[in-house]
């Protein structure tokens, strides 16, 4: 999707704020931040953020496009909503972080092998395939994302958990072959395809 990035750079020149406002979920809120920093201090994964939300908002205004979109900070959001309920300007920070991450991913600027990104994609694919999550495949998917050996190693480390869940009937080995699923999968897929088209249109994204 690199071409999409080039297209964006050309379309918005140096105006990264405008780009964010038009293309990122809830991006129009970024300008309302008053740099109090309450979000940055509220995040449970705060220490792991190279750039906390309030700083990211400032970077966006300062036009630091590459630093922001290639940062893995947004991917640290656990969706705990602490920042949202404390923000004195009522910015939907969780959604903005998700939105930025999503946008970065779509432009192909998100850091390679960002585990949360991979998991996010995996989860979406997993749950939309049949309309419901296949937890076993999902879990294995996470383990094996870095290849077979790594996967086996990880799975081995986590075997207690796996067995635990198996024994307590909270993990179903047969999901590997046939898991839970919606009946109208065709409808769901059509519906989602349509939704993606509309969204691209709304966010001025090249179809």
């Amino acid at each position: 999707m690199g071409d999409m990035n080039i297209q964006a750079i050309e379309q918005y020149r140096s105006d990264f704020l405008k780009e964010v406002e038009e293309r990122v979920e809830e991006g129009h809120w970024v300008k309302m931040c008053m740099q109090c920093g309450v979000c940055s201090g509220s995040c449970p994964f705060g220490p792991h953020w190279a750039h906390p939300p309030q700083e990211i908002f400032m970077m966006i205004r300062a036009g630091k496009r590459e630093e922001v979109l290639s940062s893995d900070s947004m991917w640290m959001c656990t969706s705990c909503y602490n920042c949202v309920v404390r923000c004195p300007r009522q910015l939907p920070i969780t959604q903005i972080m998700h939105g930025l991450a999503t946008y970065a991913h779509r432009l192909g600027l998100a850091p390679r092998n960002q585990p949360t990104r991979d998991f996010s994609i995996l989860f979406w694919e997993n749950c939309t395939k049949t309309g419901r999550v296949n937890e076993l495949k999902l879990t294995l998917g996470v383990y094996f994302r870095e290849g077979l050996m790594a996967g086996i190693k990880k799975a081995w480390n986590m075997r207690n958990i796996g067995f635990g869940l198996l024994l307590t009937k909270r993990l179903n080995p047969f999901e590997l072959f046939k898991g839970h699923a919606c009946k109208d999968q065709k409808g769901i897929h059509a519906m989602l395809k349509k939704a993606q088209e509309i969204e691209a249109r709304r966010h001025k994204l090249p179809a």
Binding site: K31, Q35, M59
Partner: protein, 740 residues
């Protein structure tokens, strides 16, 4: 005036009766106080007791009464007898509440009570019922100096209240700065968009008001007189001159902008593309007139990016520029950024600030600016490179901690500060030739102490008092608007309205011969005996309010309506010719002498405490209310201000055998608390001089001590007294006892 008939009343209530032998005290009043009528009562402040006194006044023709009961600060509603001279002996807070309730203490407590009654009797006999300042003025016309928003508001509001107005404006038109701006910051909800200034309508209202006489292109060449009878000479550009009589003055001479040429490092004066906020307003008005967007001054090119540099030459700690914050500039820059955003959202507007200062509802305006896309960056601008058609603003981005941040802008707006137009700094006028003074001066007062209002700080003629923003040092003259303090338009309007009320009040009081704040309503006034005056000028120099001028023979001229009744002149006078009807060298002197002085072997020293009635005396009262004990050897006399303390009181006290004198006044220095500005400071200075006198009398210098006391020193004041009593005990009794 009918001849004097004196009466004394001793109350037995609130425990006085139990703690003091009031019969004996009453006798003291009769025999020593030489009072014609003496009564005791169990509950003097109740209806019956008060009626008793009233009857004596009406039926017995009593003219002077001394009441021995609670503090003069208590039960003032009950003990209100406006037709007679009144003194109060503080037997409750001042005696029984501060003395131990023990047998041993009985004697000293009794002595204390007896002395206070002696003092009250002596004092009241020296008092006259103030008749009111005879030299009243009847002018009910208000002079407003300055035709900006503040001045116009003052004129209109006064007119609405039914007072006629003379408005003098230096330039050829009304409006001041407000006429030079495109739009103003909103005053009302929703605080979202710039609003029309409404200055044209305001000016029209002023010129259209039959009660307001407007002089344009005019200045004041001379201002003389006093509240109620100011005479002003108005010089017009055409060389003409007219005279007006007015009752009070509102000075609304506003401000000028700080010269951006003094800010070359920020591109000031370097390029037409670097303007101050006033400059941007000019551009905005021109553009609006043409119905065009604001263009780049250098070449008329399109403006794509505008940078606003806040605190330009303000909040400066290096001493080169303005040290203060002008308060309005943040909101003004937001407003000006909106000029661009509202016209074309595509224009980038960046406000570079260190603290964004938009108090109150200004926060809504800030939000509105953000939602319109104005970018706010916390940073310190190091330099503006101005040349050609672009400017480079270099700054330290404090959030991203980027020392080398920069913005390329077509236009840079420097938020410079307000510089007050306050005329001559009279504290520094010596350096100035008279002619120059005349030109710069705004009021050209012919006051002994200088041609303009005293300045507080940085040229602003503000009040020093937080509780009393309009307390001015020139009675009847009130500053309003940015000349008083940096402020925006909405504040200026409020300020002008308040100042106008005070001016109206001054006129009303002047007509009745009453004092203005803080002794508002006081009918007493200073009078002096010409024979005996040595023309030493101390009174004219030291009057904190410039009330006293000098006549041709260099005798002091008391402009009573300018006077605040502090008595600083009385304290200053070396020959004691200045006095008030109810407060004089005698009223206090006689109290000092009235005290019964035990001999040197009695082991009963006597310590005189002269306490400022504003802070020290209430503190002593409250010490009593909290039953905090202090030495029974002190005798406290409240004074209007330590500045009114005449050295003779000290020497008299020492000569008549007092072992020590404590002076308790308010804090002085930069954050002085003295309600008469310099009183306590003067007193301290005068007392430092008294040491020589003490040496002549062969007395230890410790026998006179001065203290700065706050009204909250309820625990400290008794401590000071006790420590001092201990010290006197150390150095021993005064050798002068018995010689008096």
């Amino acid at each position: 005036m009918a001849e004097m008939k004196t009466a004394a009343y001793v109350c037995r209530g609130c425990g006085i009766g139990e703690r003091i032998d009031t019969a004996r005290t009453a006798k003291v009043a009769e025999k020593e106080g030489k009072v014609q009528l003496v009564r005791q009562h169990d509950f003097l402040c109740n209806a019956e007791g008060v009626q008793l006194i009233r009857d004596d006044i009406e039926k017995e023709g009593v003219t002077h009464i001394a009441i021995g009961a609670c503090s003069r600060r208590s039960k003032t509603e009950a003990f209100y007898f406006p037709t007679v001279a009144l003194s109060r002996a503080n037997l409750r807070e001042g005696v029984i509440w501060t003395q131990p309730e023990t047998e041993e203490a009985r004697e000293t407590t009794q002595e204390m009570a007896d002395d206070y009654v002696r003092m009250a009797c002596a004092e009241v006999k020296k008092m006259k019922l103030p008749a009111g300042n005879p030299e009243v003025g009847h002018a009910k016309r208000l002079l407003v100096v300055g035709g900006g928003v503040s001045g116009m508001t003052a004129a209109l509001e006064a007119a609405k209240a039914g007072y006629s107005v003379v408005l003098v404006e230096k330039t050829g038109s009304l409006g001041g700065w407000a006429a030079k701006i495109h739009q103003r910051v909103p005053f009302h909800e929703p605080y979202q968009d710039p609003a029309p200034t409404g200055v044209t309508e305001l000016a029209a209202a002023v010129t259209g008001d039959p009660g307001i006489k407007v002089y344009l292109n005019a200045t004041l060449s001379r201002t003389s007189g006093a509240p109620g009878r100011f005479k002003v000479q108005i010089a017009t550009e055409s060389g003409g001159s007219s005279a007006e009589e007015v009752g009070a003055i509102v000075q609304a001479t506003g401000f000028t902008t700080y010269d951006i040429a003094k800010l070359p490092e920020l591109g000031g004066g370097k390029s037409p593309n670097v303007v101050d906020q006033a400059g941007l307003e000019k551009l905005a008005m021109e553009a609006a007139a043409k119905g065009q967007p604001i263009r780049r001054p250098s070449d008329g090119g399109e403006v794509k990016t505008v940078a606003f540099v806040q605190c330009a030459g303000q909040r400066d700690e290096t001493g080169t520029h303005l040290p203060y914050c002008s308060g309005h500039c943040c909101a003004t820059s937001i407003k000006q950024a909106m000029y661009f955003k509202d016209a074309n959202p595509g224009v980038d507007t960046v406000v570079i600030y260190t603290d964004l200062r938009v108090p109150g509802n200004g926060e809504d305006f800030y939000r509105s600016g953000q939602s319109k896309g104005v970018t706010f960056t916390k940073g310190k601008v190091s330099s503006v490179e101005a040349g050609g058609n672009g400017c480079k603003v270099n700054f330290h981005d404090l959030i991203l901690d980027d020392k080398n941040a920069s913005i390329q802008a077509d236009l840079v707006v420097l938020a410079t500060g307000q510089v007050p137009v306050s005329g001559v700094n009279i504290e520094k006028q010596e350096e100035m030739p008279a002619e120059e003074k005349k030109v710069i001066s705004i009021l050209n007062l012919d006051y002994r102490q200088g041609p303009d209002l005293p300045q507080l700080k940085y040229g602003f003629t503000d009040s020093h008092f937080i509780c009393f923003p309009y307390e001015t040092r020139r009675t009847g003259i009130y500053a309003a608007g940015p000349v008083r303090r940096p402020m925006d338009m909405v504040q200026a309007i409020e300020d002008a309205t308040g100042a106008t009320l005070k001016a109206i009040q001054a006129m009303e009081n002047a007509e009745l011969g009453r004092a203005a704040h803080p002794r508002s309503g006081d009918l007493s006034f200073p009078s002096f005996r010409v024979d005996g005056c040595t023309q030493c000028k101390r009174c004219t120099v030291e009057c904190p309010f410039g009330a006293i001028d000098e006549d041709e023979q260099r005798y002091p001229v008391f402009n009573e309506s300018r006077c605040r009744r502090c008595g600083t002149c009385m304290g200053a006078c070396p020959v004691r010719v200045i006095s008030f009807e109810n407060y004089s060298v005698d009223t206090v002197g006689s109290q000092i002498k009235a005290v019964d002085m035990p001999d040197e072997f009695s082991e009963k020293p006597r310590i005189l405490v002269l306490a400022c009635e504003n802070d020290a005396y209430p503190a002593l009262d409250m010490a009593g209310m909290t039953r905090t004990q202090y030495s029974a050897f002190v005798r406290v006399i409240p004074v209007r201000c330590l500045g009114s303390v005449n050295s003779i009181w000290i020497t008299d006290a020492l000569n008549s055998g007092y072992d020590g004198v404590m002076l308790m006044g308010c804090k002085h220095g930069d954050d002085y608390q003295c309600h008469f500005v310099k009183g306590s400071e003067l007193a301290t200075y005068r007392m430092s001089k008294i040491d020589d006198t003490l040496k002549q009398l062969a007395l230890e210098t410790e026998r006179v001590a001065t203290y700065e006391v706050a009204i909250t020193d309820i625990a400290r004041v008794p401590r000071l007294i006790n420590d001092y009593a201990a010290k006197i005990n150390e150095i021993g009794m005064s050798p002068l006892k018995g010689f008096a």
